[in-house]
């Protein structure tokens, strides 16, 4: 069951480095290499198979949280320390909760673009199916 006030999934075709990848003021994708350049991440559930690029992505996530343009949640298919810490700092500094959820391959693959999602329920699903942390 879905509700119209739930955030919707933005499923990325390729991973995105948040630094150099989104403008934290607007939440738009600015990475010229990215096939979804111009799309807005603010308030969406950002779904990408993994992270990419810059270690400054943690700062950009926190800055986007400060400016109200952060995604509502981030869903990955493998853990990423940089995004997890950016989320923790966004919560600590600004009280903005951006769950960073890792889903296993099957659960990850079922999410389609535009689908309404409950970030809290995603977190519960992830903890019910814990994935093995990767190399980094």
């Amino acid at each position: 069951m879905t509700r119209s006030d739930q955030p919707t999934a933005l499923v990325l075709d390729e991973p995105l480095s948040l630094w150099g990848g989104i403008d934290p003021a607007s939440g738009r994708i600015i990475d010229a290499q990215h096939p979804q350049r111009g799309a807005g991440v603010a308030g969406r559930v950002l779904v990408m198979r993994g992270a990419r690029g810059s270690s400054s992505s943690a700062s950009v996530l926190a800055e986007a949280a400060r400016l109200g343009s952060a995604p509502a949640a981030i869903v990955l298919s493998e853990p990423d320390l940089i995004l997890a810490i950016g989320s923790a700092v966004a919560e600590e500094l600004y009280g903005v909760t951006i769950p960073v959820v890792v889903l296993d391959g099957d659960a990850f693959a079922t999410i389609h673009d535009g689908q309404p999602l409950d970030p809290g329920a995603l977190g519960a699903a992830a903890s019910a199916h814990p994935s093995v942390p990767d190399a980094g």
Binding site: S55, S56, D80, L81, D134
Partner: protein
């Protein structure tokens, strides 16, 4: 400490390990979140507990006039750089700390580094051990002196699971040409993602500058924190060593066409109109500075073209002593330190392409500073800067 514990939860680590040094990327201003964080961190007189170097910031503190940013943003950027220095970190302000004697951990040593290219270089080329530490966690690790014992801090996670083998159609000339390496890095990052790959098929003993180009590119197109180049990186004297005695999950062929496709994606120019040339991303080594001066060979940069060479203040000092910096300036080059020309507005004109020998610059500059970038060899970049238009030698790529 709370961030380090959170990191342990994310990585599944059961205990922490001491580190011998840190490289902190958090000193680059990304907005007020950067300032809010360090203000919170520094409450109570916090200082770093291990030798710590600082990454680039948003300002060239030695040549502030080279950065054409909003004055208030520059002031905030400068304040942040000073604030991190006040935590006890060395004011190196470079993305290539590994070029400085003070920041070269020994093989096997545990460290916590930020800055994606530096992380990949540290693991792959120095053989020291770090995970991908992002902003905030890098300085948290420098303060606590400890990180979760997980991922690339452990021997098991460092073995290659993917082999990229250069195909027989990749010409011998290209295998030993500078311009191969950033392109190879792009391909490696795209194919490996966050996995550890081993590249097989290159002549042994590749230079640190070439491996730096691989690291920077792979950490842009992928989430690469460690790669091996058989015969060149310390954990890969042989392919078997890189694989840690096990078998790879996959062996993939790399063709000349694959490499050309990666290069072409970042080398598109709609005309030969040239506004600028940016070299030194990551920061130029002393050898790279000397090479640019040699390639200029006493010629002057075309008056319509801005040539920027980015380096660290530490390398600049050595380049000044050896007369290299003077030769570059006499030719009309601008030498930028403490920051980089794809982070902040340095390139004055955007009405033509900006050529670069860095895949990382070519990747990020369009989004960050609005430049149309064209990836090329260092030689082509310098020849173009002198000619005042884009000139390219296609021969190493099998063209004419």
């Amino acid at each position: 400490m709370r961030l380090v514990v959170r990191a342990a939860e994310v990585t599944g680590a059961r205990r922490l390990v001491d580190i011998v040094g840190a490289h902190v990327d958090s000193c680059l201003y990304h907005g007020e979140a950067s300032i809010d964080f360090v203000e919170r961190l520094a409450r109570g007189g916090t200082r770093v507990s291990v030798p710590t170097t600082l990454n680039v910031g948003a300002v060239d503190l030695l040549h502030p006039e080279l950065v054409h940013d909003d004055p208030e943003r520059k002031e905030r950027g400068r304040w942040l750089m000073d604030r991190y220095r006040a935590l006890g970190a060395r004011p190196t302000y470079t993305c290539a700390p590994y070029q400085l004697d003070v920041a070269r951990p020994a093989p096997g040593e545990q460290v916590a580094w930020g800055e994606s290219n530096a992380i990949a270089f540290c693991n792959s080329v120095l053989g020291a051990r770090t995970n991908r530490y992002g902003d905030f966690l890098d300085v948290a690790a420098a303060v606590t002196g400890r990180v979760p014992l997980a991922g690339l801090h452990t021997t098991e996670a460092r073995r290659a699971t993917l082999v990229l083998r250069l195909g027989s159609d990749v010409p011998a000339e290209l295998r030993d040409a500078d311009e191969l390496f950033p392109v190879l890095g792009l391909l490696l990052g795209r194919r490996a993602g966050s996995a550890v790959a081993a590249v097989d098929g290159l002549p042994p003993g590749q230079s640190e500058d070439r491996l730096k180009a691989v690291a920077a590119a792979a950490a842009s197109s992928g989430a690469v924190a460690l790669f091996h180049v058989v015969g060149s990186t310390p954990e890969a004297p042989t392919l078997d060593a890189a694989l840690g005695g096990g078998g790879p999950d996959a062996v993939e062929n790399v063709t000349l066409a694959d490499l050309r496709a990666e290069r072409d994606a970042l080398a598109h120019a709609s005309s030969d109109r040239l506004a600028g040339v940016s070299l030194g991303t990551p920061h130029a080594s002393l050898a790279e500075m000397a090479r640019v001066a040699d390639l200029l060979g006493g010629r002057r940069v075309h008056p319509d073209v801005q040539l920027v060479v980015s380096t660290s203040r530490g390398i600049l000092e050595a380049a000044e002593e050896r007369g290299i910096a003077g030769r570059l300036r006499d030719a009309g080059a601008e030498i930028l330190v403490d920051t980089c020309s794809y982070l902040v507005p340095v390139v004055r004109r955007l009405d033509g392409a900006v050529m670069t020998d860095s895949a990382k610059w070519a990747w990020y500059a369009p989004g960050n500073v609005g430049a149309t970038s064209v990836l090329a060899s260092t030689r082509d970049c310098v020849e173009s800067a002198v000619a005042g238009r884009i000139v390219r030698d296609e021969r190493p790529w099998g063209g004419v």
